[in-house]
């Protein structure tokens, strides 16, 4: 009898203890699923707003000039020349970046190239010469330089 009372008490303690941790866990989970639902709703409404904007933009297209200008390609191949500008890779026909491309993470190679870009700059002497040659102006010197050190 004593043993069964003790066992019962231990079991009860275990159940209560487990519920202590389980309740907040389930609360968190239900909150997350609620957030996800909200996000989905938000995306849906965003999408419909986007469609509305698209329609609006289409309606807004009023003539500005003759519209006869052909833009220039910097790399003319027979393909690009015949396709006009409506053959650019990675872009939708309306000129937006393809969603798939936008979601892709940058690769190690991209990070190396970005690092190369971070070292691009001009020497003060070259800039001075360039400004003088173009009969341009130099800005008054700035007192502080807070450019971060490159690692």
């Amino acid at each position: 009898m004593q043993r069964s009372t003790r066992t019962f008490t231990v079991l009860l303690a275990l159940i209560v203890g487990a519920s202590c941790w389980a309740v907040p866990y389930f609360q968190e989970n239900s909150k997350n699923s609620g957030d996800q639902q909200k996000q989905t709703d938000k995306n849906k409404s965003k999408k419909s707003d986007k469609d509305k904007d698209k329609d609006k933009n289409n309606k807004d297209e009023s003539p500005f000039g003759s519209g006869k200008i052909n833009l220039l390609h910097s790399s003319h191949t027979s393909d690009t020349a015949s396709a006009g500008f409506n053959g650019l890779t990675g872009l939708t026909p309306s000129g937006e970046v393809e969603a798939k491309k936008l979601k892709e993470p940058a690769t190690g190679d991209d990070f190396s190239k970005a690092e190369q870009v971070s070292f691009i700059g001009v020497k003060a002497s070259s800039l001075k010469k360039f400004i003088q040659e173009g009969k341009l102006n130099t800005a008054p010197a700035k007192t502080e330089t807070t450019s971060p050190k490159k690692s």
Binding site: V16, G95, A106, S147
Partner: protein
């Protein structure tokens, strides 16, 4: 025996007591965490943080479009860019680079990373137009425009969750910003730059400040206006929709609207300023079939008209 039962009862009570206590402490910890996030989101980035987010954003931009490798042309773009950017209000080390796409646009990332596309360079006709475009982008950096948008998004809980992708593993934590957070900021920056409008106030500010930078540097203040005027006309040709679609209303206000405002604004500056067409042609040359001259008679006419009307 009674003692044992009392002991169990005490343990039971203690365990039961942890339920509200945990909820309470959890709330306190969540509050502290939220407070830290709000503080982080309202604080301006330090130069180190700005540089880290800028570089991560640059990597993503390079991933989307690729980098155009032409050191002499890149150097020229940097000389023009730095000539106008020196009139900015804060000391930023600028890095101008060329994206390998025929699309027409330019982008300013935090930390002075400014990208102009190959297509833009091919359709610009002189140095004052290039200076106008780069000055507009430098003004975005100078005003911390993209940073403010990204921080604002974090504050309102709209951040993009990227998870542990390759990007996150490539970016090391910097000056109080965790690697994952830098990657999130960079993703937000790139998504904003490529799919959204910065907002009419920020674009108007950048157009105004950019024209000021260009004019103070000694360039024709109407450079940007002249280039956009040509583009506004070109945008009406369906063949150019893909190249101009993003710039015309998607990432920037509609071209005709900007041209109209820039025309009014440029009238407030004294006429004159350097145009430097010859120097531009010497430095930006894509070889056969390149932008040696406007493609059509109407383009020539349009450019002459817009230049003389300043």
């Amino acid at each position: 025996m009674n003692k044992t039962n009392l002991c169990f009862a005490t343990v039971l009570l203690l365990l039961a007591g942890t339920l509200p206590a945990r909820a309470q402490f959890g709330d306190i910890f969540n509050g502290i965490n939220k407070g830290r996030q709000i503080h982080e989101a309202t604080q301006e980035w330090t130069p180190e943080q700005e540089e880290a987010v800028g570089r991560a954003s640059a990597a993503k931009m390079i991933h989307v479009f690729g980098l155009y490798n032409n050191s002499s042309m890149t150097n020229y773009v940097n000389l023009v860019g730095n000539t106008v950017a020196q009139f900015g209000t804060r000391p930023v080390q600028y890095h101008f680079a060329i994206l390998d796409t025929d699309m027409i646009n330019a982008f300013a990332m935090p930390g002075g990373y400014v990208f102009i596309t190959r297509g833009t360079l091919a359709n610009i006709s002189n140095e004052s137009e290039l200076a106008g475009v780069l000055a507009h982008e430098a003004a975005h950096v100078d005003g911390r425009h993209l940073e403010k948008i990204v921080r604002g998004k974090k504050l309102t809980g709209l951040e993009v969750q990227t998870g542990a992708d390759v990007g996150a593993s490539q970016v090391g934590g910097v000056a109080g910003l965790a690697a994952g957070l830098i990657d999130q900021y960079a993703t937000q920056a790139i998504t904003t730059a490529l799919t959204q409008n910065y907002g009419s106030d920020k674009e108007r500010d950048a157009d105004k400040a950019g024209m000021d930078f260009a004019a103070r540097a000694g360039y024709d203040p109407a450079g940007l206006r002249n280039f956009l005027s040509m583009l506004a006309e070109a945008a009406n040709n369906p063949a150019n929709k893909q190249a101009t679609g993003m710039l015309n209303g998607k990432t920037h206000p509609p071209l005709k609207e900007r041209v109209s405002k820039l025309t009014t604004l440029s009238a407030t500056y004294p006429a004159g300023g350097q145009v430097l067409e010859k120097r531009y042609r010497l430095n930006v040359n894509f070889g056969t079939g390149s932008a040696a001259a406007p493609a059509t008679a109407s383009a020539k006419k349009s450019r002459t008209k817009s230049t003389s009307s300043k």
